[in-house]
Structure formats: C-alpha cells, structure tokens
C-alpha cells in the first residue's frame, strides 16, 4: 500500500528526514511517535505534497504509484488525506460548500461522476451521525471561529466524507480534552474497514489507547529508530524519549 524507501527531505535548506523507511499494509494503522523536532510533521507534509518540503532522494509509492512527482491535489485524488495539526481558516467559504467542491474535484480527477447537492447532503449527514457530530458545523465558514477541538473534529468529518485510502493524522489529539479525544478516536475507528490505511502521528500514548495500532514506530533524528507493537507506545509513555539517547 504505502512504501517509503530511504526518504530524505529538506526544508529551508535543512535536511529533516534522513533516510526514512516505512511500509504500511492495506487496512493497517501505524502510529508514529517521537520527540519534538524529530520530523513527524515533516513526514505528514511530505506525504501530502507541500512544496517547500523537498524530497532530495528516496521514494514514496502508494499502491505502486510514485507520489513524489504528484501535485497535492493529484495526491488527494489518488486517495491521500492529511488531517492537519493546525487546520486552516478560510473566511466566508461555507464548510459544506468547501467539502462538496473538494469531493467533486477529486471525483472529477478520477473520472467519476460528480455528486449533486441532495446526495451530498445525505452523505454528509450520515457521516455526521456516525461521528456523533452536530450538523450546525456545515453551515459555518471553514474553520473560521472554530475552537481547537472543533477544528480537529472538522478534519475527521472531512476525512469521513472524502473516504481516502491513506489517512495521515498529524497530532490530531493535541489540545483535545478527553471527551473530544474519544470522539475523534471513535471517528477514526468508524473508518477502519480493513482496507483503509492510517498513519497516526502523535506525541502521546493516550490516543493509541482507543485506536489499537498494528505497529508503533519511533521517529528520531529523521529516521525510524525503533518499531514494534502497541507495547512500544506503553514503554515510551513510561520511560519518555530520553531512553532513545541512551540506546543510540
């Protein structure tokens, strides 16, 4: 599904990822943990195609397709979704309108028929119900005046509607209280259908308690330095990232 090989990425002339390897299989959920500045967000941005993150060597393939040469919108159409750590406000643009425009742009790019207003609304309402979220969210401008928690939940709504094949969540749990955290975790679990794959970037084990990841990786100094099962997350929580330095 997702194959990252010896990935080197620079931004502002500085190399952040230094030979990262990661293989995510169909339907799997991988957690990426690591200290601040280890390159976690860089990985998210690079996968989604942000242009000031330059791939200097290595490869990223999604179902055999080379992602590196693709524009961000082409990647979205190919099934990549990034839930932002800091979702961006777009004043004056209705949330439902935005989401429909995005969905139809993706469908058009894939040669599928566009969804009309009525069917779209039906789809979104179902997603909102599954996610136990309020419909009033749709009528507001994209992230404008949203609380931190609402912004994160809105990312999950977008993910549910856009139905990506690979979802990358960049610290979606940061800044959430325990109720919001459960809601977001519930949203992710709803979308785990055995086919869709997830890369969940997080600082804390907290979110992983609700997600049961298949694999946990520790990112440090631009490389994955350790991989394991859920027990690795528990160990990190208990011992902190300090042990990494001792180990290396």
């Amino acid at each position: 599904m997702l194959e990252i090989k010896d990935l080197h990425v620079s931004t502002d002339g500085q190399e952040i990822l230094k030979g990262l390897n990661l293989s995510v299989g169909e339907g799997e959920l991988h957690a990426i943990m690591g200290p601040n500045g280890s390159g976690k967000s860089t990985l998210g941005y690079t996968l989604a195609g942000r242009e000031d993150y330059q791939v200097t060597s290595g490869s990223i393939e999604l179902n055999g397709e080379d992602l590196v040469e693709m524009e961000p919108d082409e990647r979205a159409a190919a099934g990549v979704f990034l839930a932002f750590q800091y979702p961006v406000e777009i004043p004056g643009v209705n949330n439902a309108y935005f989401l429909r425009a995005a969905l139809n742009a993706q469908r058009k790019a894939r040669g599928e028929e566009e969804v009309d207003g009525v069917n779209f609304l039906k789809m979104v309402r179902e997603s909102l119900k599954d996610l136990e979220m309020d419909e009033s969210l749709l009528k507001r401008a994209v992230n404008e005046g949203f609380s931190g928690g609402e912004k994160k939940r809105n990312e999950i709504v977008q993910m549910a509607v856009l139905q990506p094949t690979l979802a990358i969540l960049d610290e979606t749990d940061s800044g959430l209280d325990i109720d919001a955290l459960k809601l977001v975790a519930h949203g992710i679990n709803q979308l785990r259908d055995g086919k869709r794959s997830f890369v969940v970037i997080t600082h804390y084990q907290r979110l992983l308690d609700y997600l049961s990841p298949d694999h946990v990786h520790v990112l440090s100094g631009g490389r994955i330095v350790e991989s394991g099962g859920p027990e690795l997350a528990q160990r990190l929580e208990a011992e902190g990232y300090g042990y990494l330095e001792k180990a290396s």
């Binding site: 989604a48 195609g49 942000r50 242009e51 000031d52 524009e71 961000p72 919108d73 990647r75 979205a76 159409a77 990549v80 979704f81 990034l82 932002f84 979702p87 961006v88 406000e89 777009i90 004043p91 004056g92 643009v93 935005f98 989401l99 425009a101 995005a102 969905l103 742009a105 993706q106 790019a109 401008a141 994209v142 977008q158 856009l162």
Partner: protein, 481 residues
C-alpha cells in the same frame, strides 16, 4: 514561498473573453474637442437649444479646470484632442424596433451574453444596449410602459421627456463638479434614463450594457435615474471593450435621485479591458457616480464589482439629505498585472438620523495597486447620524499594493462612526490546505477569493451575483505550468 507566489501570479493572468472587435462601419465626428465638435454632437442628436447651451457652458468651465492629481494613481498624459467624441454604427435609418437593428450588432451583444432578441432575452431583466456613442435598443419597453416606468436611452429621453431631463440633469452632479464630469457634460453621447413614478415598484430589473468598439474613441455616457416618492427600482450596468494596444477613455456620469421613501439599488459589474500583462492598453475609467437621497427615509445602495480597466477612478457616493435616509456602498475591486484602482465612496450626511454603511473588499495581485478612498462627512445640523465602514484588502503575491485612505469629518458630536480595516494575504497555508483536499490551484484561489467577497456578492441581484462570481473566476483563471 517564491514558487507559490509565481504560480499564483500565473493564475491571475487574465483571459479577457470580451476582447473581440465587431467589424462594422462607424460614423464618426472628426477627432478633437472644441465648440464646433460639441455643436456637431448636439446636432447629430437633434437636441433642443437649452441642451447645447448647457453643454457649451460645461465646456467653457472645463477649459478652466485641471486634471485631478490627488488620487494614488499614475496617469499618463491623455491627448484629448486625438480622440473621437462621437462614434456610432452606420445605419441608413434610425431603427424603430430591435427587428431593424443591424444583425452584427445583435450578434455582438449575443456574444457578450446579453441577448436582445425576444426569444433569448433574460427573463425579468430589461436591457438598454449602448454601442460606442449610441443606444442600440431597449428591451421590454412595452411591459415597462404599462407599469408607468420610463426606461430608454438618454437621447430618446431628451426627445420624448425633455421636461424631466431638464429638471434633473446635472442636479446631482453639476457640470462644474470636477474635471471629468465637466468633460462628460460637454460631450456626453448616450446613456440610460429611468423614471419610476410615485408608489411604483419597477416590475423587473433594469440593465444597461455599455460596449466600446470603435478605435480612438472615448465613451462618455450619462445615466439619470429618478425614483419618485414611495417607488423602488433595481438597476445594473455591465461594460466591456475590445483588446487594443492604445488606451481608451471612459468618463461617465451617473446621477440618482431618490425622493421620499424611494429606494434605488444600483449595481455595476465592470469588466472593461484592463490592458495586457505588461500594462499596455486598457480603458481609463474615470467616472462620477452620485446619488441624492433627497426625500425622507429614502435609500440608495451602490454595489460594484470592478475587475477591469487599466486605471479606475471612481467614488459612487450618497448625499444623505433626507431625514433618516440611508446610503450603502458594497464594493469588490480586483486589480492585477499593472492595473491601478483608486476607488471608494463618499457619504455626506446632511439629514438627521441618516445612516450609511460601507463594505469594501480590495483584491490586489501582480504589480497592481489598489486603493480604497472613502469620505464620511457629517454636517453640523445632522444629529444622530450613524456610519459603519469595513474595509478589507486581500493581497496575492508580494509585488502588489493595497492602500486605505479613510477621511472622517464630523461636525456633530452625536454622530457614531465606526471604521474597521484589515489586510491579509492569500497564504501558502490556505492554498495548501485547499489543494490537499483535492482542489487545483485555480479552484483554490477562486474559492478563497469568493469567500472574501461574500458580503458584497450577497447584495447583488441573484442573476448578477452568479455572473460576478464567474467573472472573478475568469479573472483569476490562468496559465499554470
């Protein structure tokens, strides 16, 4: 970042879709401006003597005036003696109905999306189509007549309703008002005239479409709208011109008169040719638009979407003379490449309890300069006046400029005046966010700009809101990669 800026700038390169020329023989008055030319224009139009005298008086005053220099604009010298002040498509006889109009002219307006012939007309919108210096025809005249509404070309109004024209012409914008208004008063050719009788709600939207076609001409139209007590009317103007290397001058005057409780809504979608990406060619749009809220509780609302012209100099204003009268100004001005715009409004509060609202949205891209200039003046005797001004600028790229020049002059301590201003840039963050959701760069920019303009678009009549949105999208359409 630089790469993003370049790409966004690429998007702004406008494809001007109205840039074609109609191949039709023109009848022109020789170039140059003097009393003889003015007399010739007046004679062509069979005008009464008072109007010729009015023109000549304006001309003589104009000779004493100088071009205004205070705007934040760089205006190259204009050779007014090289211009033709009158051009009209050659016709054997003046067409009595649209059936007799030259098919080439009808085709031109068809191509511009303003069909005049009966089967394709816009439902519920009456159109007066002005080609160079003359009105080609006005649709739905019969239906309007039944409602008592007069909607015709200015030339026709001078011939058919001279008493109304004489009573109101120049009563809002005097011929001596400013340099370009004086010039217009001397040489104005055609334009639209609207009269809505007492307690009448005009049964349909009225619209004038201005088209400059002939080379080396100026267009100097004059529009006058009079709304009697208790009446309501909504009017829209649209404009385009062919792409030409040389600049062309458009100096119009629009006067609105609203009597007791009358409401006038005046909307503009301005798409004059803006010049090419190097700043060559384009229309100079120097326009004086003013509404007079003469009556108690009268209301005038200006809405403008400005995407064209090389240089725009225009301040649709309201004189709030009546007690509790209200003036509104909603504006979207988009400039790119080398376009310059200095636009805004004036709200002159003379009546007690009068209110005004100003919402201005400026979008600058390329190497353009976009200025908002607004005056809110409260007279000594005008108690309990309220004004709210909101002025937002959106920058695309790093080589454009946005400027705000608010003037507040209050001579009455009871006035409540609020002014808010913001400047923002289309961020890389916003663009990337939209693109990561599947929108391509053009769609993303259009979406962000559309959101920015929302408050103004919702003030436009439905059909035109759609058109305005599409126009902005075309203006933002470009050549990626």
């Amino acid at each position: 970042m630089n790469q993003t800026v370049e790409q966004v700038e690429g998007l702004i390169q406008k494809r001007y879709k109205a840039g074609f020329t109609t191949d039709i023989e023109s009848e022109m008055i020789r170039p140059g401006l003097d009393e003889e030319v003015i007399a010739m224009i007046s004679a062509k139009k069979n005008e009464p003597e008072w109007l010729l005298a009015w023109r000549l008086k304006a001309y003589r005053h104009w000779l004493t005036m100088a071009e205004p220099k205070w705007a934040h604009l760089n205006i190259p010298p204009i050779d007014l003696q090289a211009l033709h002040y009158y051009a009209s498509p050659k016709q054997k006889n003046r067409p009595k109905s649209l059936d007799e109009v030259d098919p080439k002219l009808l085709e031109t307006f068809d191509r511009l999306g303003v069909p005049l012939h009966e089967r394709a007309r816009l439902a519920g919108v009456a159109v007066d189509a002005v080609f160079d210096s003359v009105s080609v025809g006005t649709t739905f005249q019969k239906e309007l007549k039944e409602a008592g509404v007069i909607f015709c070309s200015m030339s026709e109004a001078v011939a058919e309703h001279p008493e109304l024209v004489q009573a109101y012409l120049g009563s809002v914008v005097p011929p001596t008002d400013n340099y370009f208004a004086a010039l217009n008063s001397a040489v104005f050719s055609d334009g639209s005239f609207v009269y809505v009788p007492k307690d009448t709600v005009c049964p349909m939207e009225l619209s004038t479409y201005f088209r400059i076609n002939a080379r080396d001409t100026g267009q100097f139209e004059r529009t006058l709208i009079v709304a009697e007590a208790g009446s309501q009317v909504s009017y829209l103007e649209g404009c385009t011109a062919p792409m030409r290397d040389e600049n062309q001058l458009h100096a119009a005057v629009v006067e609105l008169v609203a009597l007791d409780r009358a409401q006038i809504k005046y909307s503009t979608v301005q798409n004059w040719y803006p010049g090419d990406e190097n700043g060559k060619g384009g229309i100079y749009n120097f326009v004086t638009k003013r509404g007079d809220c003469r009556g108690t509780e009268s209301r005038i609302c200006w809405t403008q979407v400005e995407t064209g012209s090389a240089i725009t100099w225009k301040y649709p204003s309201c004189i709030l003379r009546g007690e509790r009268s209200s003036g509104e100004f909603y504006s979207v001005a988009l400039t790119h490449n080398h376009q310059q715009a200095d636009t805004g409004t004036k709200m002159i509060h003379l009546g007690k309890g009068s209110t005004s609202k100003i919402i201005s949205k400026g979008i600058s891209a390329g190497r353009s300069n976009n200025s908002y200039r607004g005056l809110v003046r409260v007279a000594k005797k005008a108690d309990d006046v309220r004004n709210y001004t909101q002025c937002d600028s959106l920058l695309i790229g790093k080589t454009c400029g946005a400027h705000t020049f608010p003037y507040i002059e209050s001579a009455n301590a009871t006035a409540k005046i609020e002014h808010e201003a913001t400047t923002s840039r289309i961020g890389e963050d916003q663009l990337f966010y939209c693109r990561s959701r599947g929108l391509d760069e053009e769609e993303a920019v259009a979406l962000i700009v559309d959101g920015f303009c929302k408050e103004v678009f919702k003030e436009l009549p439905m059909e035109f809101a759609v058109e305005a949105k599409a126009l902005l999208e075309i203006s933002l359409e470009g050549s990626v990669g």
